[in-house]
Symmetry: D2
Subunit: 138 residues, 4 copies
């Protein structure tokens, strides 16, 4: 298992371009927050689908690191997103992940995405990560 | 909106073969229980994937009826299932649905499936239903 | 790799209740056909979603056996189905699987489902199977 | 229906930041190409998942515009991606979309993603788009 500080340091080192902040990790879950930048916007003043997916993918990765420790080689194998409501252009995106399974080879989790301050989710994601054999033994 | 009794009566009339019992509906969700029969079993003493999907599909349908009333023409448009753990062959399957969105044309919900009496889900489903125009106007 | 005859014999032994016939296997794909029985029907004269999923799941399993040989322990880990058109009640369901990846630990394939004799697919499935370590070594 | 030129002009006007080029549209499909930039890369010299999803989403949108004409309000409602192989960091991403259904309210398509010049797909996507009522009438 890895702490919030260890994960934050790892993310900064490995993903220096990331604009996401990890605000919670542990108890089989994680929460991340990402401000909406000009590159995330779409015509009509909303947030692009790929930007939402990126936040969800990161929330899932952070939650898994929180369970199995720092494993640079864990990779996303699949991801399903359902878009539910139009996100606000002027609010950060919050991703709340709950892990459904952390097996030896595969982890599965769901992520609810919100416009910060709004209770109704803008999108819902289910994703799976493959965990490399080396880290399973570790 | 439809009550548990109205939905149970509708299900019995429309799906006389169904072995599912609706145990809760309302507050944007529903719970259904289905005993495991010989036709649901797979070699090795587990429950087949399609049997799990059938319970999830029904839980989602019941939850939607609970929100929009009895709409015979609502149809599943997509369904994603992740299998998490091996279900027990000798326990009923419980499906707990939470609706994520009930829009004018589309409803989206997630369903956690359990072997009765066990807290760890055996599968997780996200599904979408198309709601026919007539019932939207109603 | 396993031949059509070996797979058909394995399926008969392991899934004696199955009504599916394997009509083609090899070249990273498989085709299966299942007659529509009374238990597959839904009100309005169509085929149930879970029956379609069962055919797709089997087509995928057969295609994988065709590539890696008879592996009883390969299990579905996820499945996404999109329902496209209303299947005919009086025609068999044909499932045509193409494998997208056969890795050491995971296989991924897509399945198009048809009402026999009709060119427009009634549903489309993408599924993943987990391959047990023993058979990878084999 | 819209031609490649009409769609290219629309994309340039509506998505000025997009780096994608539409190379084919029509016959219920589309092909797009996107060069890999520094913002698409991940540690280890590969292309990020969200960058792949963005190319797939665009290929699907372009294919739909090719069928129903320029409809600015069509929106993605769901997307499932399976990651198959590691994309090359130094090759463009090619997205080849085939539409599975173009209904009145919903369009469904699949997209195979490739590293340019390589025949084995790096990812596979199935996505659905909601088509606004106004354009259905048009």
């Amino acid at each position: 298992m890895a702490s919030l500080e260890e994960i934050a340091a790892f993310m900064t080192a490995e993903f220096p371009q990331s604009r996401c902040t990890v605000t919670q990790v542990g108890e089989r879950g994680a929460t991340v927050v990402q401000p909406v930048g000009v590159q995330d916007l779409r015509p009509g003043g909303t947030v692009s689908g790929p930007s939402l997916m990126a936040v969800a993918d990161l929330a899932l990765y952070v939650a898994i690191l929180g369970e199995i420790g720092i494993v640079p080689l864990a990779v996303t194998t699949s991801l399903t997103i359902n878009f539910l409501r139009r996100p606000a252009a002027d609010r950060s995106i919050v991703g709340v992940c709950k892990l459904l399974k952390v097996g030896r080879a595969l982890a599965v989790g769901e992520v609810s995405l919100y416009s910060e301050g709004d209770d109704a989710p803008v999108a819902h994601v289910v994703g799976t990560y493959s965990i490399p054999p080396a880290s399973r033994a570790g």
